[in-house]
Every structure is written in C-alpha cells, then in structure tokens.
Symmetry: C2
C-alpha cells in the first residue's frame, strides 16, 4: 500500500514514527486499544512506558472495509545502548517539515444525496480543479472518464461531468456501483489523491459507528482533512 495514499486516508492528525527513530511504548494504551480496559495497577509489575527503537513500519488496509492501519515493530532500547542520535520519532525532518513532499489530496464527507441510491456525487469545485484531471471546458457539456485506484490497487471508473445551472462538478455513472460495493453511507468520507506522476487514487474513511456519536457540523474538510 502506497504510504502517500495511506496518509491521506489516515488524515493529517496521524503521524507515523520513522524506522530507526526512538519512541515510547505504552503497554496499557496498547492493551486498552486492542481489547478494552486492563488493570495495570502499580503492583502489576508492568512499566508504564518503555523506550523503544522502531525497527519496522508496515502500512496496511483492511481488505473488507478499506480502513487503514499500521503495524509497528519495536525493540526496547537497553540502557547501555549507545545513542545513534536519531530523530525524535515523529518522522519529521530537523526543520519540522515532512521529509516527503505531501501530494495533493482532498477529503469530503458524503451527504445524504451523495450516498442516496440512484444519485451521483457532488464534487466540490476545489477537488475537481486541483485533484481531478483537467476537464476540457470547450465541450458542451464538459465530460470525461476518471479512473481512480483504491487501496487494494483496484481501478474504479467514474463519469465526471460539469453541468447544471449554476454549473457544478458531478460524478454520475460508476458512482453508485462504488457506493454499493464499498457499502458507503452518509457520514462516511471519501478521499481523492493525485500522486506525483498524475495518477488518481481513492480512499475511504468510515464514520464512527458507535452509539452517541456527536452531531458534527457538516461541510467539507480542508485538504487532507479530519482526524
């Protein structure tokens, strides 16, 4: 899985430690994330945090839901181990900027109309103009076929049209197939990303399904958006 698409799906709040960097491992946080509340009382003999060195990071995606996650391999740093002087574990360069250029990407939360069966997808103008291939506006109406690769490398085909009064960008043919196959519902988000060589990719962020999900104000998220 391409790490750029992975990061676009994960969102801008997610930063991954670089290989060879040093991080603190929290056993309690890991256990709670994996299987719920665990008693790590002071008498349990488990340290609260352990200084480790990252030995491997693997970017992955669930084959069913397309949701992204990562496997991080760590080894404890022994107190007598010499310090290699590596970075702070946030995967950032010394100037605080990502060492890797961030490609253009855009995330939108699906509206009721987007997810409705039989409807299309309303493409925000910013997304259409900066992420999608350039449309030939001299045609009437301007139409093109857009190909996008998902996290599994599968290619999806969409009809991209610029029409209506006032004019707006829409994905029509191919969109409902995508919604049904991916089992998307209103509230889920879709991520479009343009790689350096001009290829288009598409990712998914499922809405939190748990009870008591707060009613977020709708609207689109700034490029490479929410957490």
């Amino acid at each position: 899985l391409d790490s750029q698409l992975w990061h676009a799906c994960a969102g801008g709040m997610v930063q991954m430690p670089a290989v060879n960097s040093k991080v603190y491992y929290f056993p309690q946080g890991h256990a709670e994330h994996a299987q719920g509340i665990v008693d790590f009382g002071s008498s349990s003999g488990v340290l609260a945090l352990i200084l480790c060195r990252v030995t491997a990071v693997k970017f992955m995606a669930d084959p069913e839901t397309d949701e992204v996650f990562a496997k991080i391999r760590m080894t404890p740093v022994r107190s007598d181990e010499p310090d290699y002087g590596d970075d702070d574990g946030m995967g950032l360069g010394s100037n605080g900027a990502d060492v890797q250029e961030k490609p253009a990407s855009f995330a939108k939360t699906l509206t009721q109309s987007d997810a409705n069966n039989g409807g299309g997808f309303s493409v925000p103008r910013y997304c259409a103009e900066t992420i999608f291939p350039r449309l030939d506006y001299s045609a009437d109406p301007p139409v093109q076929t857009v190909l996008a690769k998902d996290v599994h490398g599968e290619v999806w085909k969409f009809r991209h049209i610029y029409r209506g009064t006032p004019r707006r960008h829409l994905l029509t043919t191919g969109w409902s197939t995508f919604v049904n196959q991916k089992k998307l519902v209103a509230g889920d988000s879709i991520v479009f990303l343009r790689t350096e060589n001009g290829d288009l990719c598409v990712g998914i962020r499922r809405a939190k399904r748990g009870v008591g999900v707060g009613h977020e104000s709708p609207g689109w998220n700034p490029p490479t958006g929410n957490c």
Copy 2:
C-alpha cells in the same frame, strides 16, 4: 435440525446408522473423503476396517449453503465386549422398513425457467396436490400464500397460484428472492416436505459443481428422489 427434513434433503439413497448400532469404520475412505488420496499401504499399520459402535449421530446443515451433513461418533468394539444384540447398523427395523414414518416430500431439479431471474417456479402437479396446503379452486384464479421453513428455521413466503391455459401450479412472488438469497442455479434441486403436523419445509440439494459432470436427463425425481 429436524431429522425428517434432513433425510428429505439427503435423498432416499442415504441411510444413517442408528445410535447403539454396530458399523465398520474405514479409515482410508474417511481420510480420502476429508482430504484426498492418502497412502494406506499394508505397511502403514492402520487397519482397513474397524468394528465400531455408534454412540451419537448429529444431523447438521451448512449455514452458508444449506447442504446437509452428519457427525457420527463411534467407539471401537473391543473383542472381549459382550454383544448387545443390536441391529445391523442400517437404522432399519427388523422387517426392513423404516422405524419412523416417512413424511410426504417432493424434490424437483430447477429448470432454466425456474432459475431465471424474473421468472417463477413451475410446481409439478403432484407436489402441489400432495405437499402444499389445499388450494381453494372455487376462486378465480385460485391463489394462496405458502409459508415454508428452511433447514435453519427461517420462514420463506411464496405466492402459489393456479392459472394459465392449460392450468398449472406456479410460485410467483417471493420465489426470485428465494433463488437469489440461496444462490440457486439451474440444475440445483429443491425439496418440499410436509411434516406430520402439516407444516411445510423447504430444503436444497446443490448440483455437483465439479468438472466433467455428466449430462443427466432432466425431469423430476420421484418423491424423495435422487441420491
């Protein structure tokens, strides 16, 4: 799973040993059935057949495909064990007839028209008259709703109508849903069974999917039909 419905799905050629009866267990046949060819050469030290006593029989059905199978528990009969004088292991009474009355059932192999999407199911007259609830022929046309329980206890609803020239029995509304949910194709068989208390049940026999399946002559199977 009701043993009568199980037997109707398995077909008349299948006879199960009764609990407490004695049978021969063939390790080689069991192994080949489970995982393919296994070498049971004379030097392997495994006996070709072992006299056993059946201690339990469990009638089951695959939750996905509805295909029926059974779990048979056996314990080897030791040579010094006294003979209880039980039967021959075919589950038959001393007169060779089934100890349990066989309920009315009917099996039909689905034709192309039966399996076609958008079509109905052509009910053989014998099945409609002996298995289905009695139809009120004074109505025009005679119609009723038929409820049938599958191997999981799930109830399916069909519209049963007697119409056309010449007159014939058909299942219309509800049939295509059943075909799609059960993923039935032409060549698969459907089994209808009426229990003693008048309830209707429905089972499935999948066609052999393997390559080189011979072209069987079509047509319906006699009551509680094929193997």
